[in-house]
Symmetry: C2
Subunit: 274 residues, 2 copies
């Protein structure tokens, strides 16, 4: 069982989780399960010259790319309503660094890479509504298996913006088919963290261009286990914008969090509800 | 040349165009070219029970479905900031009426069909930025040919909302390939009327699932003529939400404008710019 990891400690505050990340002491490979009741964010860091197009890209694709906020150019301070006293260069557990569309490094901070014209964007994450699913009586298979949320690259083209284009990425959680309407109802209000599912079951997988209908070969994350009567349920995923930036092969250096290792916010999940 | 029609009179005010529609005297089969400088809107009329899901559907798909406003339930008065003194039951030239996903009638008003729980939604239309293209030195082939804007059903699934799902519809205008960056720049600010193109050329057509790369067999509207060096340029289209409502086969009666025959608004196009 190579994908069994330490359990997250749900008693930690968002600031304490960020402190663990800053000190490179997060004992798990993802932030799912930490600080239940608080939102988490995907990160994309770009040179200022791409900021307008990226912002528009997010506005045109609010389901996979719900923009929660951004830094001032060159200032790595996270806006205080998102995460007080946080420095985006250090407060995710791991980062990917890209150059001209190729991943060139994976590091625990981006202090050396941050530039005077860097802008960090904060994008909603579906971990934010997982607590609502649990409170609604719906467990999370990746937490039960203690492994990584499976994510898929789909064939669905996103709405392009200037030089930025790409395909949607989705996260997946298995649930009984007959419970899907309730799953829709619970996650629908979380419009700023992907909202209701974009599809489910073999028909949904086909529409999204996902061949692996049983959750065995995700593009990222770990395989899952489908129980009798369960289907794969897919949500827009905040890995989409970083994948789009990479696929667009923008010239220059840009950074993102390592998928699954989000920035844990001080924003309560109620604050990302409509 | 069966698709040659009368020319629009550009000197008419939006209120005068609406008056013509109300009196069933619009001499052309589309509103493209009328009231240059003013926005136009697609219309979807639904029973109140679908209003929440439809509103969310638009929010999740802002490129094809940019929601400009809606009526109070049961009140056919168009919000005055959109079109002063306008009654949505009469002020489009023609309407389609659907029952359980099937088109059952095409009429010049929906006075008989309007119900105490009807809600009309107003969705941005790309005719709104055509004047900006003309001012930027880019003619409109459908106006030159005096025929209907070609529109295509694509293979791109929209983000579903409750029972509402569907594929994106796009409008198409031909332009020289090397001018596409300028076309993008001109239409990008019109975020509430579809903004910049979603694709162009044979590669864009392939990504959108459009086989007819030469503009000869549009799903709706008339065939076009591509000149040397020109490619098809595609924009999100406000026919998408009415097509989605129809394809979702929602039980009940709902209405829309006839594609191409929009509600002409008092909103200036500057007001739909970002």
């Amino acid at each position: 069982m190579p994908f069994i990891h330490d359990q997250p400690d749900p008693s930690l505050t968002p600031a304490q989780v960020r402190q663990l990340c800053r000190e490179n002491k997060l004992p798990t490979p993802q932030t799912s399960g930490y600080a239940p009741g608080y939102a988490q964010a995907n990160i994309v860091v770009l040179p200022l010259k791409y900021a307008d197009d990226f912002r528009t890209f997010c506005q045109r694709n609010p389901v996979p790319c719900p923009l929660l906020g951004e830094t001032a150019p060159g200032d790595p301070t996270v806006p205080s309503h998102l995460a007080k006293g946080s420095d985006i260069r250090t407060d995710c557990a791991r980062y990917n660094i890209y150059e001209d569309g190729k991943r060139i490094a994976n590091k625990t901070d981006i202090i050396d890479e941050w530039q005077p014209d860097s802008v960090a964007f904060f994008i909603g994450c579906s971990y934010s509504f997982e607590d609502a699913l649990i409170k609604g009586g719906f467990g999370l298979r990746h937490q039960e298996l203690n492994n990584m949320t499976p994510c898929y690259r789909t064939s669905v083209p996103l709405m392009r913006s200037g030089p930025i284009k790409g395909k949607m990425v989705v996260s997946m959680r298995p649930y009984p088919l007959e419970k899907v309407p309730e799953i829709v109802r619970i996650t629908k209000p979380y419009a700023r963290t992907h909202g209701e599912p974009v599809g489910w079951g073999p028909e949904g997988a086909k529409e999204l261009g996902i061949e692996d209908v049983n959750g065995q070969k995700p593009t990222w994350g770990d395989p899952t286990v489908l129980k009798e009567g369960e289907v794969c349920v897919y949500w827009g995923c905040g890995v989409s914008p970083q994948q789009a930036v990479m696929d667009s092969e923008l010239p220059g250096v840009y950074m993102s969090h390592e998928p699954g290792q989000m920035l844990v916010l001080d924003l309560k999940i109620e604050d990302v509800c409509q």
